[in-house]
Structure formats: C-alpha cells, structure tokens
C-alpha cells in the first residue's frame, strides 16, 4: 500500500539508518538510488519518483539527508510523501535539527520511532507530542512513564492526552496571512491570493471543548446575519482535531485542541489583492560595462500601519562587480553568493515611497551562460492587520471543571511568494 522500506541517506548515498517494513524489496536496491538521482539531475529531469527495474524510490531531501521510501507495488504516492514529511516533523521535534549528526547521535530513538511510526508500510501514530509520552530520549530514567501506552494513541482524540494541568488557562491565537503575488514585467498582476493560517498556543487544563467563530460569509449566510464585514474562504484546511463533518454541515469550527503549539487551520482566499508593497524597477544592462538599477518601493496600505523588516531582493548578473548604492531610506547590501542586492527597510509606513539606486560594473568579457530572468522578491510583515479582513469573533472554551480561560488574538500580514518579474 505504501512503503516497503524507509531509508535515511547522507548526501553521498550512504545509508545512515533504515527500516525494512515489508521485506518484499531487496534492501540493497538502495544502492541504485544515488546514481539514478545523479543521472536524472544531469539530464535535467529530476523527479520525485525514480525507478530501477521494479523498484520505485520516492524521496525527499532535508538539510543534508535524503529520506527515501522504496516500493514495488502501486503505492499511494501522496501518502508516502506526506509520511516522509511527517517523519521530518517528528524527528525535528525530537532532535531540534534533523541532519546527519542528529541521526547518528540518536540512532536508538530513531529506531524506536521508525518502529512506532509505521508498521508493515502503514503509517501509525505520527503525532510527536503523543509519541514523546512513551518514546523518550532518556530511556533509562523514565522507565515508569514508558511502561504503559498512552490511551491517546488509539483514542478518537489521538492528539491530546488526558490530565493536562495549567495554573492559568490561556489560549493564544495567531492569525497570519501570507500574500502571494506574481507581477508581470509590464506591471500587471498575473495572479494573487492570500493564504491564511490560524495558529494556536493552547495552555488549557483537562479536555476543553473549543469553538472558534470567524466572520465567515458562508456561516453568516447560513445563520441569517448580515451585519459587518465578512470574508469568503475559497478553501479551508483543518487540523486533525477539527470535526470536519460538523464544519461541512453548519460551518462550526469545533474541536478539542492539541496541547501547546499547533496550526488549527489554513485557508485560501482568491480575491484580487492589491500588492501591499508595490515595486517599480528599471534595470538597464549595458553589456561589457555596467548595470544600473533603480527600484521604487511604495507602501500601498493604510497610513496607520507599518510594514516591518521589509526586504527587497533585486537580482543582478552573476559576474557583476564593484557595487555602489544610494537609498532614500534603509540600507542596501550586495549578496554575491545569491547574485542579489538586498535592500532592507526596518520600518516602512503605509503610503510612503522610497527609492534605491544601485550601480554595478560588468566585465568586458561577457558571461556566455544564459542566466534567465529571476524576479524581484519582497519580504515584509505588517502587524495588527489582515488583508482579507478576517476576524476572530469569539473563541468559546468549555471544560467540565468549569474554569474561565482567556483567548488572546494577534493579527499579522506577511509576504508569501511575492514575485515581480523584470525585463532583464
């Protein structure tokens, strides 16, 4: 159904650790993996699935590791990739960084986790918080805790353990919206959307029942209210804990939250967004002599708001040299290893306009290689504000012990995939 075996390899293709789940694929097949990968890479046909004879490799790369699943069946590929990414998530929560060293330093736990995460190719418990209750790194000390299965593992509520206690019951809600924009060289917006995410930091005792109210237009239409601004969410994705059928029937977001930090939901809004930071650029390339760059950045949001840590990244030819900059605010820096000029503006008030000029020399011998046309990208953060206007109307928290808990809400808008194509 999914994987026959899972391997963790270093960049040279050496197996750091592996687990054979089904035994229907020879474990030595993995030796073909890296040569195949390199061959495909050379041909420019890199692909997440590689095959050698009857064996198929599904792989992802994470820092200096390859995580590879092998199979000789018609496996569910989406399940395998989801699982591999889940593995990365679990390992990262266990070891902070997932890399070659952390695998070696923790091989005993890694084996234990591999045993628990998947059985005969079927993913099992992959919630790291729950796993940490019975698979611990300090094995020797925690014998007692490890001697029983947390009922959570097989419960319908498989993401939260019973008996959690906090002195002060609080829940922090972050509403984060990322703006994705693609602007053509002639300045027209090709595509734009908002990807929102609602993150929770739950510090609540017991098994609380939560209900989140948003100014969701579909909900308002269902319940017949029509006051105030509403948003249309094109698509919504929920954490495991949210009762999907309930949402489907009456748009109620009800759930028992995981403890600590988690992403409760994400949504996508497909409206035409005005790019919050508008960039106009003139890049003139005089072959064999110089490149002149003029970039104008304009804050197209409310005057009261401020964008923080704005970075405008402008591509320059790889053979450019002797940079010179002039900026009306902030500072510009040449990052030769990325062939970029990064213009940083710590605080960018709405409605303002700033200018940056850069001048580079070019060698007289032209670089023969076609470098393509990388776009200008922009990074920013605007706190206390969401583009879509989404609002948390309420968060109801009910626990049988009857405590009062406070929800705290923060809003932030940031850049997502924010690309402006250039002419050069």
């Amino acid at each position: 159904m999914s994987a026959s075996a899972i391997f963790v390899l270093d960049l040279k293709g050496k197996v750091l650790i592996c687990r054979n789940y089904k035994g229907d694929v020879d474990m030595s097949e993995i030796d073909h993996f890296l040569p195949l990968l390199m061959q495909h890479e050379e041909e420019g046909l890199l692909c997440p699935v590689l095959s050698h004879g009857n064996v198929h490799f599904m792989w992802i790369k994470h820092s200096n590791l390859y995580l590879v699943a092998t199979t000789n069946k018609n496996s569910n590929a989406s399940l395998v990739y989801s699982f591999l990414y889940k593995m990365v998530e679990v390992f990262t929560e266990y070891f902070k960084e997932l890399e070659e060293e952390s695998i070696q330093d923790n091989f005993v736990v890694v084996y234990e986790l591999l045993d628990e995460l998947m059985d005969f190719g079927f993913p099992q418990t992959t919630d790291s918080k729950i796993l940490q209750e019975y698979i611990t790194q300090e094995g020797a000390k925690l014998e007692v805790a490890k001697s029983k299965v947390p009922t959570t593992v097989t419960n319908a509520v498989s993401w939260r353990s019973e008996g959690i206690k906090y002195k002060k019951n609080e829940v922090f809600i972050d509403v984060i919206e990322s703006i994705n924009v693609l602007v053509n060289a002639n300045g027209s917006v090709m595509s734009s959307d908002i990807v929102g995410s609602i993150k929770l930091k739950t510090m609540l005792s017991g098994m609380p029942e939560l209900r989140l109210g948003l100014n969701d237009r579909v909900l308002f239409a269902l319940t017949g209210r029509d006051k105030g601004k509403t948003v249309v969410m094109e698509d919504v994705k929920f954490h495991q804990c949210v009762r999907l059928s309930r949402f489907e029937s009456d748009r109620t977001i009800s759930f028992i939250p995981p403890d600590g930090e988690s992403e409760l939901m994400s949504y996508r809004i497909n409206t035409h967004v005005k790019p919050l930071i508008w960039i106009e650029s003139v890049i003139e390339k005089f072959s064999h002599s110089r490149v002149e760059i003029m970039v104008k950045a304009k804050g197209q949001f409310k005057k009261q708001s401020v964008a923080n840590n704005v970075e405008v990244r402008v591509p320059v030819p790889s053979d450019a040299d002797s940079p010179k900059f002039k900026t009306s605010t902030g500072s510009a820096k040449y990052v030769p290893e990325k062939d970029l000029v990064v213009w940083t503006i710590k605080s960018f008030p709405g409605g303002k306009e700033f200018l940056m000029r850069a001048h580079f020399g070019l060698p007289s011998v032209e670089n023969a290689e076609n470098e393509g046309k990388p776009p200008i990208t922009v990074k920013f953060e605007i706190p206390y504000f969401t583009v879509s206007g989404i609002q948390v109307r309420y968060m109801k928290i009910i626990e049988k012990s009857g405590y009062q808990a406070l929800p705290w809400v923060r809003y932030i808008t940031q850049s997502g995939d924010y690309q402006l194509r250039t002419n050069v």
Binding site: P48, N76, S82, V108, E112, D115, Q240, E248, Q419
Partner: protein
C-alpha cells in the same frame, strides 16, 4: 550524551569483546553492549555471529533493551533460522505481558521475522492479541495478520484469522478499524478474486463512521478502500459522496487526494442534471488548487493527478488557469507539469494570458522547460484557432532570438501549424529558410524538409535547399532521410522539369545505397509509382492530408478511466496502469469507473458507457506531436503500444481481441511483403524506363507487383457482388476514423444466395499504412460469427479504401443483446484493436425455406397467445398488396394466403429465422391508404420490433 560514541570502536577483536560484554552480569554494561551491536549493524557490519548472546539479553524488563534485541532479531533471524527458534519462547511470553506496550511490541516483531518455523508459534499469541482488551494491541495484531498472510497465506486462512480480521471492521476503536481495513486491503490486493473485502452498505456505513474518528492515515486507508466499492445506485453514491466531501478540508494532502479519488469515481454514477452533481463539481476545485501550496513532491503528485482530472472533467478547473502559472523557484518537475496543464486548460477565453506567459517562459534558462514552452505555443495555435496568428508571430519573434534550441523547437511546431491551417501562414517560410543551417536536430531538420517539400511550388529555390541536404544523405538520421525522399518526390511532382536529376539521385540513394529497409521500400514504392503512373503518383503523394486534431497527448479514454480509479498512487504519477510496472499484477482486473462498467454494453454505443463519458464526445486520441511526423514518415508501423493489452471494453470482448492478436494473420502478411524486396532487387533497370509511359515498363516487373498488391491499391471497386434481391441497407459509418486512429469502416449486411455477408469499406485516413486486419464478434443474439478470416490481403495505404465482404454464419455463441440485433465487433490492425457496435437488419436472418403450410399457419396463429401479438403501422407506403408481397418475398417474407375484406387486402405471411424461430404476420393494405398495418405473432415476441423494422425497410426501398 549522544549515541554516536557507539559507532567509534573499530579495532580488531571487536566481536570478541562485544561477546564478553553481552554476557556481563551488569545490566548497564549489557545494554551498552547491545547498543554497540546495533550501531555496528547500522553501519553495515555483520554482527550475526553474536546471535545467541544477543538473544540471551531478550529476557529483560528494560523496554529499551528489549526493543533493541527485537530489532536485532528482525535483521538476523532470516540468516539464522535455527537459532531464531530460541527467541520463540520469549515472544510467546511477551505476548502475555501485563504491559500492553510489550504485548504489542512482541506481536509486531514476530510478524516481521520471516522464518517459517516461527510462524507456527505465532498463531496462538496472535489469536489472543486480536481479542486483546487494549486497542493498541488489537490494532497491532490486525496488521500482523497481513504480515503473516504474506509469509504463509494458507496458514492464515486455515486459522480463521481472516474472519477475525473482518470482525475487527466492527471494532469500537477507530484506529483498530483503520488498520483492519488496511490489512484486508493489502491481503485482497494479492488475492484479487478472494472477495475478502466483501463491501456492502452495512460495512460501508461502518467505514464512513470510523472515517470521522481515526487518524489521518487511517482516513486514507478507509478512503482507498471505499474507492473499490461500487454503489448500487445513484442515491447510495450521493450519500457516500456527501459523507466523504468533508475530508476535502483535511490538512493532509494525501487525505484530500484519496477523497478526490472516491468522489471522482462515485460521481460517475450521479445523473448530470442532479443539483448535487453541480455542487460536487464546484467543491472539487478549491482543494485541488490548494494542493499546489503543498511541498513540491506533493505538488508534483497533485499536478500529475490534476492532469488526469482535467482530461476527464475539464469543467472542474476551467476557471483556474492562473494558479498553474509557473513560479521562478518551482522545481523543474513542477514547472513542466504546470505547463502541461496550462495547455489543457487553454481556451479562447484565456489564450491571451496564456500566450504572454508562455512567451515569458520561452526566455528562461532551463532548456527542457523552454523547449516545452515553445511547443506549448504551437499547441495553443492548433487548439485555439483565433489565437493561431498571434502564436505564429510569437514563434517568429522567438526564432529571431537565434537561440538554437528555441529555433529548432519553433520550426517543429510551425510544421504542425501548417498541418492544421494549410496555406495560411506560408509567408513565414522565408524566415524559416534563413535558419536552415542552424538546424542540427533530426526532428527540426525533418520538419523543415517537410515544409520545403509541402510548399515546394512557392519556394523558388526549393530544389537547392533540398539538394543541400542531399549531400550528407547517409549521415542523416532515418527520420530525415525518409522525409527528404518524400519531399524531393513532392518537389518533382510539382516541378517535374527542373528536378528530374534530383529525384533520380534521391531514389538511387534510398534504394541502392541504404541498408535501411524502410527507406529502401519507400524508395521503391515511389520509384514504381512514378514510373507506372505519374498521375496516380501525384494523387498519392500530393493527396490532401487530413488536418491534425486539436487535442494532443490525450490519454486513451479506457486508460484514463482506469487511472482515475488510481488517483494518488504511483499509477497516477506514471500515467500507466499498475499492470505496466507492478510485477505479478498481470491477472489483476483493470479498475473501471462505475456506470461504464455495465456488462454486455458496448463501449461505442452512445448511451452505454457515456453516462460516464468524456464530456459526451470523447476526443479522438492521436499520437503526440512528436510522433506525428514519425508516423507520417514511417511506412513500417510501430507495434501497438507496449503497455500491456489494450484496456478493452467488456471482458468478453477483451478476450476476443487477445485471440485476434495471436491469430495467424501475421504470417499471411509476412508472405505478402517479401516479393517486394526480393524480386525488385534489379531495380536499377528501372532507371531506363523511368519517365516513360507505363507500357514501357519491363513486363517482368508487373508480375510481382500485381501480386504484391500495388495494383490492388488502386482497385477500389472490386469484390462486391450484385444485389440478389434481398434488401440490404445502404452502408453506414460504423467506425469513424477519429475513433480508430484513422481507420474508417463503413458497412452493411446483406444476404446473398442464402449467405449472410458483412460488407465493409475500410478506409485508411491515417498517415501510415495499415496491415494485419482481423475481425471478431462478441457473443450476440443470433450467434452471428465470421465464417472465415477477414480477407484484406494487401496493406492499406493512407487514403486508400478497400471493399471487403465477410461471410457470416450463425453457429457462434449466443447472448441476448439489447437491442436484439446489436452486434459488437472488434477489428484489429497493426496499430491497435478497435471496437464498435452496429445493428444488422434482422431480415438477414430470414431463411429461404420460411414458407409455412397454410394449415400449420392457422394452427400456429391460434396457438400463439394473443399477448404475443404486436401491431405496427407502416406509414407512407404506396405499393399495391401484390407488389408488396413480391418485394417482401425477395427478402424471404413469404405470403401464404391473401384475403380481401371490405376493400382491404389481408396478407398472411410467415418468416423463419436462422435459429428456427417462426414469425407469423398479417399485413393489411387498403387501396388508397398509404398506411399499412402489420400484426406480428411470435413465440419469442422480442423479435417483433426488429422484424417490423425489416418490413418497413424492405417495403420502402
């Protein structure tokens, strides 16, 4: 403290040292030693020699240590099967441990030890664990059944574990249900006919309930299992869809894709006019789009699947073009897939935007991506006629960039544009010719040569251009050589006076100096054509070519249906059926979408499969553009696609088709083609006769030629006898060329001198020669079956037609069809197998000795219950009763008696069918009234409708 220290010891005598440590009395030391052993195992050292010492550490209450020992066992048990037995006792004991973690660990590990001797001991502990009070143990035991089945299927069946596993589907714990479903699915996959997953509305309901409660992975197992179920009707289908749609909001992409699979499949059963159908379509788009924000590998899987979904149900994503625009930082595999989908979604409404994007992409760095973008521009031109002009000018702009591979790619697609819009954009030829020298890829060279040949009359120096290629003729690839040969022949036919020398040169290069049989054969054919009949040569070589189709690269509809059933899996990523890449899955039934799976229904019949139909009229599948030129050039056809047997319509027909493929026709064709090469070895002599009228041809040439079939090629009219009186309907198109890769079949049925014949006109509308024809029928109501093989002795060249009469008899297998006179036919040629269905007039089956004795008639008439009588009206018939009687007699409808009552003639008639069924009729004709009434009585009243149709057809023709 890190574990890395365990990896450090590499000195000699290590094994010995470890052995000592393993046998130490100190627990800590033991544990450290086991860790060292595992570390050595991890780095690939062979530590199997320590087996007994490690197993000795198994009996411990330290869980961590136990896990390590178990891990060691899993790795080495197979290499030390005898010693592995030593571990059995501990396993059995651990399965009874008060700690559920240990019970589960033991049962999980035992299943992974693939040693036969151990499996016997596993049964009892497993049985207990399957009924364990702790769900964690039960869910582990459920998976263990699948493991055990993999090792020893018989044992699992004998022990009744499958039934226990099925019971677990009703378990109270969702995780246990999910694992039981996963295990059963896995077992069922290796035993396709076991009917293990006996899915019925009750179990489906249980699964749908568990779906809401289990982990994300469990949801996937359940959804994948649901996808194998075929609902009984549209209501059940809708109710399942309603309960599955909430999964589209799950954060895990794999859950979403599995839900999409279930919905795409069950949707087939929903009536299209249902409101819910529209709602569901709308619900599918947003989650599919959101998948594009997932990790790149998941995006890739999603895109490959969207590619399928877009072909099956284009309406879902038709407004979502923008989300497929390529981002600069997308990985190459994502870029290429997005591009593919962009072309599929391109329409008049969005073409301007798409073109602007494609032009942008064509200036990127990545060669493969740029090439594909250029090709995409060409495909847009072909797909959206209004954009053709803009596409051409974009391509010309790109040619001006002089980037070598861009230019070549552009020329290849411009050739296709010429094929689609002939005589429209020749003005660009001059620009193309300027780039002639820079072309170094065979495909581009061949395309350019094709253009020059095709438009030779408008290119002043066409002869010079072609001649320049001729210099290095033998260094060119076959593709270019073949194209050059054809182009020069075209040129000669268009400008005979100046190019005689050139054509002779190329013919001799092709026939004498080449080792390539394709090239030689084509050379000979042209040579002979030109020398025999230049006029015919002109008709053949300069024939009007069929326009190329709008949609390219479409997946064959039956394969597409199968792939839709495999959404999310590797099959959907490869766009290949699982049988093409999974060993041992040959016998496994191809998955089909419901609705179109109805047995006995023909695929081609418009109302059968098409409830599921690809937007009503499935577009014809033509080879991708790249192959088009290949086909155009290759006389010798590539064998049918290599991905296993063609996914056929009904299973019965598929079997038939397989028989056909193995049939003896191939040998027949083999014999046929030999004289061509052999006897013509002395062709240089032809040079002499070249250009002269056909009479001047050496006589010796004519002999092999005529038997070789060239004459026959032009003999269009032969083979059809004169009508013998029995009614035969005019020929109708049975198989349109679009549906059969260029093979068109017109046909009718006739009964001539007591022999039923199927008379067909086969026309080759493809670009390549067709050979190896064969035919087979599906079972039908009257057992019609071919009395001999389909006699198409000569290859069918492009644009050629041939008449064939296939004698039939009625001794074949019988199966009642609906309508009764429906006949499903499979025709095979060297390209593929095609299916169609046609209806024969039942009068073909009226036998000549169908005249009943008067007494018998009367008795029979009375004997047949009145319920079996059916009355029909025949309108607008102006024959007298005698004329009608005569006419009907010609089709073996015999008048036995005539009575006249009140100026109304009553004709009593009898008919006998080939299978012995008698039909009695009373035909009432009133002078001056053009409407006849016919009453039919028959013991098998089903035939009445068909018989009536025959009456009408015979009387009116």
């Amino acid at each position: 403290m890190t574990d890395s220290k365990y990896f450090t010891t590499t000195k000699k005598g290590e094994i010995f040292e470890l052995k000592a440590e393993l046998n130490s009395d100190k627990k800590e030391k033991k544990k450290e030693a086991v860790k060292k052993v595992i570390a050595s195992m991890t780095v690939g050292k062979d530590v199997s020699a320590l087996f007994p010492d490690v197993v000795n550490c198994m009996q411990t209450d330290n869980l961590e240590l136990k896990k390590l020992v178990y891990l060691y066992l899993m790795n080495y048990a197979k290499s030390q099967p005898d010693m592995a037995i030593m571990a059995v006792n501990t396993f059995v004991k651990d399965c009874e441990d008060p700690n559920p973690l240990i019970r589960a660990l033991a049962v999980r590990t035992m299943g992974c030890i693939r040693v036969d001797k151990i499996t016997e001991y596993l049964c009892e502990p497993l049985r207990k664990c399957l009924k364990d009070e702790d769900p964690y143990v039960r869910k582990t035991a459920a998976v263990c059944v699948a493991k055990l089945h993999d090792i020893n299927a018989q044992l699992v069946e004998d022990q009744g574990f499958l039934d226990t596993l099925k019971d677990l589907i009703s378990d109270s714990n969702p995780m246990v249900v999910a694992n039981a479903v996963a295990a059963l699915s896995e077992i069922a996959e290796s035993h396709p006919n076991s009917n293990l997953l006996d899915l019925n509305p009750q179990t489906i309901n249980k699964l749908l309930t568990a779906l809401n409660e289990c982990t994300e992975w469990g949801q996937i197992f359940i959804l994948d299992c649901l996808a194998n179920y075929t609902p009984r009707d549209d209501r059940e289908s809708q109710s399942i869809c309603e309960r599955v749609t909430p999964r589209l909001s799950h954060a895990n992409s794999a859950v979403v894709l599995s839900a999409v699979k279930v919905l795409m499949k069950f949707m087939e059963m929903l009536p299209k006019d249902l409101d819910y159908y529209g709602t569901l379509l709308k619900k599918l788009a947003p989650p599919l789009v959101t998948l594009l924000s997932a990790e790149p590998e998941l995006q890739y899987v999603a895109l490959r699947n969207i590619n399928l979904i877009v072909q099956r149900r284009p309406e879902i994503l038709k407004h979502e073009m923008k989300v497929f625009f390529v981002k600069y930082n997308d990985p190459i595999y994502v870029k290429l897939e997005k591009l593919d989908i962009m072309i599929r979604l391109a329409s008049q409404a969005n073409i301007a935007q798409v073109l602007a994007e494609l032009k942008e992409y064509a200036t990127e760095v990545d060669v493969d991506f740029v090439r594909k973008a250029v090709r995409a521009i060409g495909r847009c031109a072909i797909k959206v006629e209004q954009s053709a002009e803009r596409c051409v000018s974009t391509l010309l702009d790109l040619i001006q960039t002089k980037v070598n591979y861009v230019v070549q790619e552009a020329i290849v697609v411009i050739k296709d544009i010429f094929r689609k819009y002939p005589n429209k954009y020749e003005s660009v030829i001059a620009t193309l010719c300027e780039n002639l020298d820079s072309l170094d890829e065979p495909e581009a060279r061949a395309a350019m040569i094709w253009i020059v040949g095709e438009y030779a009359e408008r290119i002043d120096n066409a002869d010079e251009l072609l001649e320049s290629f001729l210099e290095g003729f033998h260094d060119e690839s076959t593709q270019v050589q073949l194209q050059l040969l054809t182009a020069i022949v075209k040129l000669f036919l268009k400008k005979p006076t100046e190019t005689q020398e050139l054509v002779q040169q190329v013919l001799s290069l092709a026939t004498q100096d080449s080792d390539n049989p394709d090239l030689r054969d084509r050379g000979y054919i042209y040579w002979r054509l030109l020398s025999t009949d230049p006029v015919a040569a002109k008709e053949v070589v300069l024939a009007e070519k069929p326009l190329i189709s709008e949609e390219t690269d479409l997946i064959e509809p039956t394969l597409l249906e199968e792939l839709i059933c495999h959404i999310g899996t590797l099959a959907s990523v490869y766009h290949k059926p699982p049988s093409a890449f999974v060993e041992g899955s040959r016998g496994v039934q191809h998955k089909r979408l419901p609705g179109s799976a109805g047995s006995g229904e023909s695929v081609e019949s418009p109302d059968a499969g098409s409830a599921a139909g690809v937007s009503d009229a499935p577009p014809a599948v033509i080879p991708s553009q790249g192959d088009l030129l290949g086909d155009l050039l290759n006389l010798d056809l590539t064998p049918p696609s290599a991905t296993g047997p063609p996914p056929a319509a009904t299973s019965g027909m598929q079997m038939g088709a397989m028989d056909l493929l193995g049939g003896g026709l191939d040998s027949l064709m083999g014999d046929e083609s030999e004289p061509l090469g052999g006897d013509l070895g002395g062709s240089p002599a032809m040079g002499a006769g070249f250009g002269a009228p056909p009479a001047a041809m050496p006589a010796s040439f004519n002999a092999p030629v005529s038997s070789g079939g060239l004459d026959d090629l032009f003999d269009l009219g032969g083979g059809v006898g004169m009508p013998m009186g029995a009614y035969s309907p005019p020929k109708a198109i049975w198989l349109p060329a679009m549906k059969a890769k260029g093979l068109e079949i017109l046909g009718t049925f006739a009964r001539r001198a007591g022999v039923i014949q199927m008379e067909m006109t086969l026309t080759n509308k493809a670009m390549s020669v067709m050979t190896d024809f064969a035919i087979q029928f599906n079972k039908n109501s009257f057992g019609l079956t071919p009395a001999g093989p389909l006699q198409v002795l000569t290859p069918l060249s492009p644009n050629q037609s041939i008449e064939v009469a296939l004698p039939l008899n009625t001794v074949g297998p019988v199966m009642k069809m609906d309508p009764l006179n429906n006949l499903q036919v499979a025709v095979k040629n060297n390209i593929d197998v095609f299916y169609f269905s046609c209806q024969y007039p039942i009068s073909m089956l009226f036998v000549e000795d169908g005249k009943m004795e008067r007494q018998v008639f009367l008795a029979t008439w009375k004997d047949i219950p009145n319920d079996n009588e059916t009355q029909f009206q025949i309108k607008d018939c102006h024959l007298s009763s005698d004329a009608a009687s005569n006419k009907l007699q010609g089709s073996s409808i015999f008048t036995i008696a005539k009575r006249t009552v009140d100026g109304q003639d009553m004709l009593y008639q009898s008919i006998k069918l080939t299978n012995g069924i008698w039909v009695l009729a009373e035909l009432r004709v009133q002078a001056g009234n053009p409407n006849y009434t016919v009453s039919l009585k028959c013991r098998a009243p089903e035939v009445s409708q068909c018989v009536f149709q025959s009456y009408e057809a015979v009387l009116k023709n």
